[in-house]
Symmetry: C2
Subunit: 175 residues, 2 copies
Amino acid sequence: MEKSIRVLRVGQRYVRDDRTLTHLCLVSRALGAESIYLEDAEKDVVGTLEEVNRTWGGEFKAVLGLSWKKVIQEAKKEGRKVVHLTMYGVPIQEAVGELRKEGKLLLVVGGPKVPGKVYHEADYNVSVTSQPHSEIAALAIVLHEIQSGEELKRAFQKSRLRILPSARGKRVVEN
Amino acid sequence: MEKSIRVLRVGQRYVRDDRTLTHLCLVSRALGAESIYLEDAEKDVVGTLEEVNRTWGGEFKAVLGLSWKKVIQEAKKEGRKVVHLTMYGVPIQEAVGELRKEGKLLLVVGGPKVPGKVYHEADYNVSVTSQPHSEIAALAIVLHEIQSGEELKRAFQKSRLRILPSARGKRVVEN
């Protein structure tokens, strides 16, 4: 089943962390999500994403200007299941069977401070181990599990460059 | 099969990026690696890791003071397979069958600039998609795939705190 997966990042950060944000966006794109919802203040990353699309293909989008409450509300209205990633949640390996049956998902990725309300608004709170690590890694594993690894085989349309996988060295061709 | 997996980060960075380094360490620990090799200049993260071990258990270690060449050389001497993660490599889903048979592995994670020699010294160059994204996400997926998801079920010994996974909210107990 072709899935529609979107990502939302929630949580006030005390220090701007552009690198983590960029990683979250690029992981969402590379591993099969169609868009990510960002806060207005994070619009710097939009240019980076457009450049990545131009070079490497696909139509991944950053969506700006909506509050997290609005995004979750709209998702629910259209029958999109809301999955919040948190180390306190139910193990992904236990929830994934149900999640694989869903066609439309919103993955909510927390920063250091996630409002308590997110835990209650979410249809699922899932964890990738109950150990502290990285929201980037957690997002990657959840995207990978929900899509049963199929996302790794996906081709990106209309790219300028394309890598030919190789056992040694770097092979890149222009399309 | 219980595996011995170690991680090495290679590649000069022009800007120090402590956040990415911390994520790489914590992901290595949470997803079943036993240690990570760091450059001497990165020793600030050692205190963080000791604190995480004390609170959340386990014996994950940061090893300082060895050049990447030395680490790879020593790994090969003890029959440890060297797996370099790069977007130019062979898809992980094609290499994973062989990698699962190995008991001892060294995963090499590149920063922005990886010396060409690493591609040649590695036993495997593997990619997690041929798209640009995040070394943190790539490391997570490779650890997850090599261990067939078993790493998610692992318990960390001697922790001070432990999370009780729950569908809503946060439940933490003291051991």
